[in-house]
Symmetry: C2
Subunit: 357 residues, 2 copies
């Protein structure tokens, strides 16, 4: 695949690109970005080694990709006109264009026509089904242990932490399912839905469906979290996900050097306050403890990442580690030790929980 | 108007119908419901006095309405086939059909065709614009005092409490705006949006826009709340509304005889726990205190409603009253006393708060 990250190829701006390079790097032929063209992915975002960054579509096409991935999300999720030409070019050459943007490129008449004319196809990752239910507590009943990653902010590494826990569990021979809830996660495997695209009344219902689909045959279902309960834009999605997925345990993901919510926002509460808040919100529906802290140390040296993890352990009394740098064993350990409890409350009868809020 | 509430005309099932009868009763010619036909609205739902309940569309049309209001929401918001015939009949006679259902009846080919043929029109209250922003904290900056009603459960009287506070403030000569967030509220006035219909990432942005539109010229903006932070289906909408509307104060609405979340759900936490939870969720973004408790005593005698209010006061130390029965003065008093403070945090720059959660 060729990854379009034009003008925004960096760790913070190109979350999708960076994660796909990290977990599916062997399939990436190049990154398309005029700003960093001539360098390598390894130099620019610290993963992907010698994967080249190219400055024109033609250079990318010369490497014979069969997919163009729109690997950066513009603010608000809408397609900048500047990228349109590149997508048109890829469709004209018969590529599959995969997009996680809020605006469905498949609904764009010009792009759809270019696909039809050139033999290309369009896949909009955020397109969700229109038959989602209002949540009714069914996810509490699955046999698998369900874990949700929650965050101290948006864009803080919840998907990566979830993925690392899944990979660590599989290395131990555990049947672990990754349950994606966002456009990037959907590129990494598992059955999922872009929950931020769901109509608000059905967010928890979407989370419920994601757990129910991933649970059969799994010992552990690790649900990718979204946003933060204290992020003014996205807190509703976060809480819907928490209440719909009915986790048995939570992993709190934190970037220690970030003191304010992205960008220039409110001060991020301290870790113990975050632990209390998430647990308090879960408790009345289904108690779930935060069992570990995942440290996002992308901007730190090894020693500093270890120091911050130790400080998080001191503050919370929970195991803490940067899973990308030092492995997710310390996050997995308390999950393996967890005994799946009997439900502590009676789930709603399906389809029977009130017509409207 | 003629109100369609077929098969579900009761206080709990027909929230829209009951509220429209309460606040716009002089415009209602009849209610259409085969189950309670022959009785009066006053007998069935306790408001509306002698407004008749009729059992057929023809009886209703004989009273010369110019609007058919779909006044009950089926579970999940979708249109039962049984009501289709009645709506078709109204459209064929040239009526405006107003619907708050999740499924837009204007998108239904058969109904749209009937409207075109018969001269009727269709208005879908839940239809929302597609240019809503991600919230950026702007609602914290308005000059008006902003109040949000929050609940101990869904369908508990948040809209009614908001409306009663607005009416009480206006009786005192205050410039009070009612800010609706649901399909029923939209029928009662003010500029609003059905926030539960908004794509999840934009719920808080919708709440922000509602406050910004209602604030100019108002001393008090009373925002209709939705759901409950402990309702598994709707908690995400509730939190998005709290964080997007940036209220200065909260009014907690509670039905004392309801011990479990609708229906057969989880135990509802005690009032002090609810007060703490709502205040804790607001605090990191913009501190807001619960200043009063609104008691929903629809199923109680006067003395019992007073007793429950007194008990709520004892438990929380806050004024409590059933506003429908005894007026909303006790809810209004702490709002009038409130001094609009300076913002305690720096709102995000508009359009600058991160591309994705």
């Amino acid at each position: 695949m060729l990854i379009l990250a034009d003008g925004r190829f960096s760790v913070l701006d190109a979350k999708t690109a960076t994660c796909v390079i990290r977990y599916r790097g062997e399939e990436v032929v190049a990154v398309l970005d005029r700003q960093t063209a001539g360098r390598t992915a390894g130099e620019v975002v610290g993963v992907g080694g010698s994967i080249p960054v190219v400055g024109t579509l033609d250079e990318g096409l010369a490497l014979a990709p069969d997919m163009l991935l729109v690997g950066v999300a513009p603010r608000g999720g809408r397609l900048p006109e500047a990228w349109r030409e590149m997508i048109l070019g890829a469709l004209a050459r018969g590529l599959e264009v995969v997009s996680g943007l809020h605006t469905f490129i498949g609904d764009d008449a010009e792009l759809a026509q270019a696909a039809a004319a050139g033999g290309g196809t369009i896949r909009d990752l955020r397109r969700v089904p229109d038959d989602l239910p209002v949540a009714s507590g069914l996810a509490a009943d699955v046999g698998a242990t369900v874990v949700l990653t929650v965050g101290s902010d948006c864009n803080v590494g919840k998907m990566t932490a979830a993925m690392e826990v899944v990979l660590a569990a599989r290395r131990r021979g555990r049947r672990a399912a990754f349950a994606p809830t966002g456009q990037t996660g959907l590129l990494l495997g598992g059955w999922g839905l872009a929950v931020d695209r769901v109509i608000a009344d059905f967010v928890a219902g979407a989370a419920e469906r994601i757990v129910l689909r991933n649970a059969p045959g799994a010992e552990l279902v690790v649900v990718e979290g979204q946003g933060s309960i204290f992020h003014p834009g996205y807190s509703g999605v976060t809480l819907g996900l928490l209440h719909g997925s009915m986790p048995d345990a939570l992993i709190l993901v934190h970037q220690p050097t970030r003191e304010r919510s992205l960008n220039d926002g409110v001060p991020i509460p301290r870790l113990p306050e975050l632990v209390r808040a998430y647990e308090a919100l879960a408790a009345p529906l289904k108690p779930a403890r935060v069992v570990a802290i995942a440290i996002n140390g992308y901007d730190l040296a090894d020693a500093a990442a270890r120091d911050w993890a130790r400080r998080a352990e001191d503050e919370t009394g929970l195991p803490a580690v940067d899973p990308v740098r030092f492995g997710a064993e310390a996050l997995l350990e308390p999950l393996v030790a967890l005994r799946k409890g009997t439900p502590t409350w009676t789930p709603f009868a399906p389809g029977h929980n009130g017509g409207q809020p």
